[in-house]
Symmetry: C2
Subunit: 153 residues, 2 copies
Amino acid sequence: MVVMTRWLDPDEQRTWRAFLTASRALMETLDRELQRDAGMPHAYYEILVRLSEAPERQLRMSDLAEATGSSRSRLSHAVARLEAAGWVRREECPTDRRGQIAVLTDDGFATLAAAAPGHVEGVRRHLFDALSPAQVDQLRRIGETLVDHLRRS
Amino acid sequence: MVVMTRWLDPDEQRTWRAFLTASRALMETLDRELQRDAGMPHAYYEILVRLSEAPERQLRMSDLAEATGSSRSRLSHAVARLEAAGWVRREECPTDRRGQIAVLTDDGFATLAAAAPGHVEGVRRHLFDALSPAQVDQLRRIGETLVDHLRRS
DNA sequence: GCCATGTGGTTGAACGCTCAACCAAATCGC
DNA sequence: GCGATTTGGTTGAGCGTTCAACCACATGGC
């Protein structure tokens, strides 16, 4: 028998569109704010954040790619730009001669520190201020469930 | 007094990162699937969907931009590509000589009809299959709340 | 040891998006 | 009516991402 498509019912339809519209609008808003206030896209901000949280403010390229959920290629291009901006520096890896280590510079840290309050404020205004505490909790569970689900497949 | 940043508490932090990771991973997965199976990015698919739902399968450029939540510029570029692919055709607007009307061609409709089952299946597999009915409901409310909130600001 | 395979990372082309500048037509104010 | 402003839409440059191809080094099997 032919496999039938399991179409979305009207409720699922509504859910999917609301989720799509909301997440896209939220990301675009935050991206634009960050671009305006800190001169970098959200993806680059996240790279700086992950580096700032790592021991000695440095990570192997592949670990950084994993942490930010980006491809090696994307990260490679991104770090090239961040390096040109003076916010990140590449170092050789002592234990694996193929490896590269991305290090957050003082300049990069200062830029991140300057950008963070505005960005956090944006996340709060555009996301958390709109939701009840119960909804925040629900969103966390949903998000974690999805991450888990997507990682397995 | 200096305005203090309302930092995210650990729970909010977790929520934000889970949401960020989940929505990005979901969009990337669906985008890749659609690119592979239908030769178009998700944004273009959505344009075709909106046109297919409109009366006579046509919409003014600005209405289409509104419906897909994209800028006029983005839509203009996108429709140019869709037109080159033969899936959309531009027509003059009879009531406003500045206006352009995007019309879904038969070819575009056929392409959409061919792509839809696979895409819907993907949305179901990657999103709805992971969530309980209660969570789907929660996600709808959260999404609609956010859309509303973002539209106001 | 040596070849085959896998892993870490980079590169360049193609593509989609953003932003600002721009043109044309419609609408407003008087 | 007529100039000023607004609206609808396009354009091109610049940027970030993707994808496939690639190089260098590491690792496993024999």
